[in-house]
Symmetry: C2
């Protein structure tokens, strides 16, 4: 099956999504955090674009099962119960809960991916499980990197390249584009030390400076989860 | 000096250009073609965004020294004397002439770079000469890849990565961004066979299908020129 890759939501919006499976990646940290949350019993995420929208939705629903989560510049938002750190999403906090989530990049990529046939949540945490799901789906794959404010982010592209590389090794991938090929080369360059890459890239360094280095380590735990959340009709959840 | 890289004019427009030297690259083919034209005695280029603008400017100037050049989808434009093939710009055609030029991507990148302190024209053809000029200039460098309609193009990023790599080997470059690092890794991956990369990338394959494979070979002639054209006050020319 053909595999293409978009470096940013801006690029994603320029591509044809029809009949494709899109994988949304925000390796540091949104999609990694979601996977950790589902491992801890979280029931769903509702991604929204703005803080105001999140607050409005929560007020309107007025449901104790509903929590607010997310970040701006990596920091928790005032009035929100949860940030964007995987360490926030402990079982006692999120079990059975629905989280209205807004982050700068990951949420934007998810919303842009909404027109695709199927949307999966990807991160280093669920690489192998994700590739199995893509194989089952059997459709053309478009990997959507969240980037940073529509600019290139190394960590998302390397994670996307890992998917390309794994699928190619399985004899599944036909590289459709320069960007998929570039991502694969970048992944193979860093494959031996994904944590080192995550800690050294621009956003990883920023998180370190903000005292969030522990999060980077969690986001580097390759294949620590078998869960592949899907994004459908405005919600991220587990369909199996 | 710090080195950053933009994958596309869209990314370039999001970056701060003040006090920087910008290198504009459209390796297949606009910036390569310009260098060949200057080698053949061309006097200047005036880059404009649209075919209409080019025609209007030529009609208004009504000067026999003025020619129209450029492409749309790699093909010559009706009524233009020159296309975007380096083979069009033979001495007998371009010596002493000024070319009003419009191409889909290269021109757009040049116009977006206009706000920088200084703008150089780069391609595989003038890599070493370009790095010498960047060293002399001594300013922060921003490499502007033309891309393809604001999407990633392998050939421009690999060419940009060659500049990063050469400057780093000279002890000059401090990589400022994920994108500069990624470009360097991609260049080093393809360094042994730049022609092979140019022929295999998406745009190179398209040119081949259009019967323009000879152009790809010309654009792969590393260091065939010592010329470094500059873009200043709306014109591309040689200042020395």
């Amino acid at each position: 099956m053909q595999v293409d890759l978009a470096f940013s939501p801006y690029e994603l919006e320029k591509k044809d999504l029809q009949d494709k499976t899109v994988v949304v990646i925000d390796a540091l940290r949104a999609t990694s955090t979601m996977i950790v949350a589902f491992e801890n019993g979280c029931s769903a995420f509702i991604p929204v674009a703005t803080v105001e929208e999140a607050k409005k939705l929560a007020a309107w629903r007025n449901d104790p099962q509903l929590l607010l989560g997310g970040e701006r510049r990596a920091l928790p938002v005032e009035g929100f119960q949860l940030g964007n750190s995987p360490r926030d999403y402990r079982p006692e906090k999120v079990k059975g809960k629905v989280v209205v989530m807004t982050t700068t990049n990951g949420t934007r990529a998810l919303l842009a991916a909404g027109k695709a046939k199927e949307v999966f949540i990807g991160a280093f945490l669920n690489l192998s499980a994700l590739c199995r799901r893509l194989r089952e789906a059997g459709r053309e794959v478009l990997i959507a990197c969240s980037g940073e404010k529509d600019l290139f982010c190394l960590e998302d592209v390397v994670c996307g390249g890992a998917i390309v590389s794994l699928m190619e090794k399985d004899g599944l991938a036909v590289l459709k584009s320069d960007s998929a090929l570039a991502a694969k080369i970048l992944y193979e360059y860093f494959a031996e030390d994904i944590y080192g890459m995550l800690a050294a890239c621009e956003w990883g360094q920023y998180l370190e400076r903000m005292g969030l280095g522990k999060d980077v380590r969690i986001c580097a735990q390759i294949d620590s989860s078998k869960l592949v959340p899907i994004y459908r009709e405005g919600k991220v959840y587990l369909d199996r």
